[in-house]
């Protein structure tokens, strides 16, 4: 099939200044924006879950399983936008068989598998084993089989075994916290280690990625908690929201500070790429950086959350404000991923010009595909919540 160059000719006609001839087309499109966004949600949701488990924040108990299953649902999808973006997806397995040790990207498969197999699946399993054994005994037909298979045949629910489940689950969570930091910090390193790109190359990148991940994960779990409660027509505890909101507030401040530090450092040092990057943020990234990420995604949520630290009035209003904040923060973090991934490719490495980027609607690299990868985890989450409902878990006496 003849490749279609029409869109490249259009971009070439609209290029500003001078760009290297190979730089007309962006190498990484919207799927690579979706990838760190999803991975960030995983890490953030897990860290929120671990607050309850490791740091004994009792009030978050009702969000613990939701957070865990959210992390799992998004993690299951995390690699798919990456693989579907490869030009040779059928060779993707090579990255696991013959990883190139000096490549930041090569280790992703291992970090991912570690996180999926050793952390999330194990933790969910230890957590649910007791309930699954009980459900297997209660149910009939196919469901009985499914739960029996999920217990892996370990049906011992003596107090001693259950206490081991708890201990091991706790141990996995403790390992899980640094793993969550590694998972997403490492995604930041993929960008931060590219010395050719001054917009990416900063040692702060992994740290910024971790904090923005926490911000997005906490918001997502908060929203899912509200939606799930609404669908189940259950009354939910405003104190839980207040508590999540407080953490979100503090982490958002840290995130904002770090990203601000990165930019101030960039402006003050004003290295050779400075003029180009200045034009970039004032031009092509103005909407997504200043408005979407800065104002909508950071300043307004910070204002609302600060207000909610003092305002303890009408519950209905507080709920609405938390819900709005959650949505705004997610928009902000998504914009941040956009600004990093797309923004980093819009300027030429000659520092003398800019190319442009237009997302198509259809195609493997289009908006619909990206939306599909973003919606799929919610489908998986709905399934997991049906299969492993946290509200039907067998309560253990502590």
């Amino acid at each position: 099939m003849e490749p279609d160059y029409q869109h490249l000719y259009e971009i070439l006609a609209n290029a500003q200044g001078y760009i290297f001839p190979n730089e007309i087309d962006l190498q990484w499109g919207i799927l690579i924006v979706v990838y760190p966004f999803i991975t960030g949600l995983v890490a953030g949701a897990f860290i929120l879950a671990s607050l309850e488990r490791v740091f004994k924040v009792k009030i978050l108990k009702s969000t613990y399983q939701i957070a865990l299953l959210t992390a799992l649902s998004f993690l299951l999808v995390a690699t798919l936008p990456l693989i579907s973006h490869l030009s040779q997806p059928q060779r993707a397995y090579e990255i696991m068989i013959t990883p190139h040790a000096s490549s930041a990207m090569a280790i992703f498969g291992f970090v991912y598998l570690w996180y999926l197999m050793v952390v999330l699946l194990l933790e969910v399993w230890f957590d649910y084993r007791h309930s699954m054994v009980v459900w297997a005994a209660e149910k009939k037909g196919t469901m009985k089989w499914i739960y029996t298979i999920l217990t892996l045949g370990l049906s011992d629910i003596s107090p001693k075994t259950l206490s081991w489940d708890r201990k091991l689950g706790y141990f996995v969570t403790v390992i899980g916290i640094p793993s969550a930091f590694i998972l997403h910090g490492y995604v930041g390193f993929i960008f931060g280690s590219i010395k050719a790109n001054p917009w990416w190359s900063t040692p702060l990148m992994p740290i910024i990625f971790i904090f923005s991940a926490m911000v997005s994960g906490i918001s997502m779990v908060m929203l899912i908690y509200m939606v799930v409660s609404y669908i189940r027509t259950r009354h939910f505890d405003i104190n839980v929201l207040d508590s999540i909101g407080k953490y979100l507030f503090f982490v958002l401040i840290l995130d904002f500070t770090l990203e601000g530090l990165d930019q101030i450092h960039r402006i003050y040092e004003a290295e050779e790429s400075f003029e180009t990057i200045k034009l970039l943020v004032e031009g092509k990234l103005y909407l997504t950086l200043f408005i979407s990420q800065g104002l909508v995604g950071t300043i307004i949520p910070l204002g609302i959350l600060a207000f909610l630290q003092f305002y303890k009035g009408k519950i209905r209003l507080r709920k609405t404000l938390y819900f709005t904040t959650g949505i705004l923060v997610l928009i902000g973090v998504y914009s941040m991923r956009w600004n990093v991934v797309i923004g980093g490719q819009l300027f030429s490495k000659s520092f003398s010009g800019f190319t442009s980027f237009k997302v198509g609607l259809i195609g493997l690299d289009g908006t619909l595909m990206a939306a599909f990868w973003l919606i799929l985890p919610f489908g998986i989450l709905a399934f997991l919540l049906w299969l492993l409902p946290p509200w039907k878990m067998v309560q253990e006496e502590e």
Binding site: E23, S87, S103, Q345, S348, S350, S352
Partner: protein
Amino acid sequence: MDNERVKSSRRKFLRSAVAVAGATLGYTWLKSTQFLVYAAEPEDKSLPWYGIVIDIEKCIGCGSCAKACKNENDVPVEPFFFRIWVEQYTVMNDGSVDIKSPNGGIDGFKQTIPDEKIFKSFFVPKMCNHCSKSPCSQVCPVGATYESPEGVVLIDEKYCIGCRYCVQACPYGCRFIHPEKKVANKCTLCYHRLKKGLAPACMEICPTGARMYGNLRDKNSELVKFLKEHTTQVLRPNLNTGAKLYYNALSSEVR
């Protein structure tokens, strides 16, 4: 007695087996930890170690090199894919710089800026710098991009997964994804010709001899002599890529 001897030799064998296995494992581990400091060290010193010189003073901007390269290496003719290209720099009297490379310079150049505004103007041919600490090889997740024993950066097309990380990592914009092969593509210094003792296509065709290649290890080679007699510079030296493409008379505007 015999039994004892057998036992002791078995013990010896086991001991040396463990030592060999341990040493192998240890070596493998040490070798794999080299990723922290990335630089290819040529293992075979008997082979040539290729370097390139481009003499900006001699380049007339005819674009023959870029055209010859496309012909020789099956590079698509569309103006988005170049293994080599030529840039025209025009520095204005007010200090501003105009850079152009229409169709990579293949169709030649026309100066559109009036003479009285021009401070100076020159051509800069660009190509892969065949870095000895090549950032593109460093980041390839499967090792499909590598440095040959002669210091030429190559791609294994049957192995590349098309992740495009190398394109991001090259500070010189020398890589692209081949639209038909769907894998990364770049200048090979015409490795297929070098192996037959022929010069790279771009060097052979250059009418002014502005492009040279040669063995950096051979102190008597034309290339080394040129480097000795001229003040040359590599592009983006601050990035420490170990570039082996040296420019003579490089102006500070060039990146």
